[in-house]
């Protein structure tokens, strides 16, 4: 079971690295917003795996909060884009 948890953590760390490449490269601001939302979703998964690894179930509360923050950040960015503030891609 420890090996399986380690493998899944490595896979999700690789996913975070690939997402970060898109955040850096992303040609426009909406691409970066999509990448940041995938960041928060991936971190929710990693926190879930870490809750299994450590045996502390309270980490799931942190996962709920991270999911909520990611959703609100996406909504806020989208409203900012739609109102058309000054931006520099």
């Amino acid at each position: 079971m420890d090996t399986v948890i380690l493998i899944s953590q490595v896979i999700m760390g690789l996913a975070l690295v690939l997402t970060f490449v898109r955040v850096v490269r992303g040609p426009s601001l909406p691409d970066r917003v999509v990448a940041l939302e995938l960041f928060s979703t991936t971190v929710v998964g990693m926190v879930g795996v870490y809750a299994i690894q450590s045996g502390v179930a309270s980490f799931l509360d942190a996962a709920i909060v991270i999911a909520l923050m990611g959703f609100l950040a996406a909504i806020g960015f989208a409203r900012f884009l739609e109102r058309g503030g000054p931006r520099d891609d």
Binding site: M1, V4, I5, I7, S8, Q9, I11, M12, L14, A15, L16, L18, T19, V21, R22, S28, L29, P30, D31, V33, V34, A35, E37, L38, T41, T42, V44, G45, G48, V49, A51, I52, A57, L60, D61, A63, I64, A67, L68, G70, F71, A74, I75, F77, A78, R79, L81, E82, G84
Partner: protein, 134 residues
């Protein structure tokens, strides 16, 4: 047996998250990238949360895991819709192989209004009650 199911769920969920990241990196367009991230990443997190629910197997923690699952299932489409709408308004470029953009001729980018193409004078004069069968 339950260890095997848990390990399978964990590895499959992590692979789906990795698939979402690969799709985000490889696909050519904002909308296709969103199509990759929302569905695959949501499925991956759902599988991982199912694994954690099976690992702890207590009522409160299972309820918490299912709360996360329901929350992700409810928020992922809303966030994708809002970001896709904002990206279309901002004018992000579509993929060069896009076959058809149905929204372009019907949509006013200044007022953000969508027209159906049926706004003629005849249709404005017609009362809907006349055509109702009952």
């Amino acid at each position: 047996m339950i260890e095997f199911i848990k390990g399978t769920l964990l590895i499959t969920g992590a692979l789906f998250v990795l698939l979402a990241a690969i799709g985000l990196l490889r696909l050519p367009d904002l909308l296709t990238r969103m199509h990759a991230t929302t569905k695959a990443a949501a499925l991956g997190v759902i599988l991982i949360m199912l694994a954690s629910a099976m690992h702890f197997a207590e009522v409160g923690i299972v309820a918490r895991s299912f709360a996360i699952i329901v929350f992700i299932l409810m928020t992922a489409p809303v966030a994708a819709h809002v970001i896709g709408r904002a990206g279309y308004f901002v004018g992000s470029r579509l993929w060069s192989g896009t076959v058809k953009d149905e929204l372009r001729p019907n949509y006013d980018p200044l007022t953000h209004e969508l027209k159906s193409g049926l706004e003629t004078h005849e249709n404005a004069k017609r009362h809907p009650r006349d055509t109702d069968p009952d």
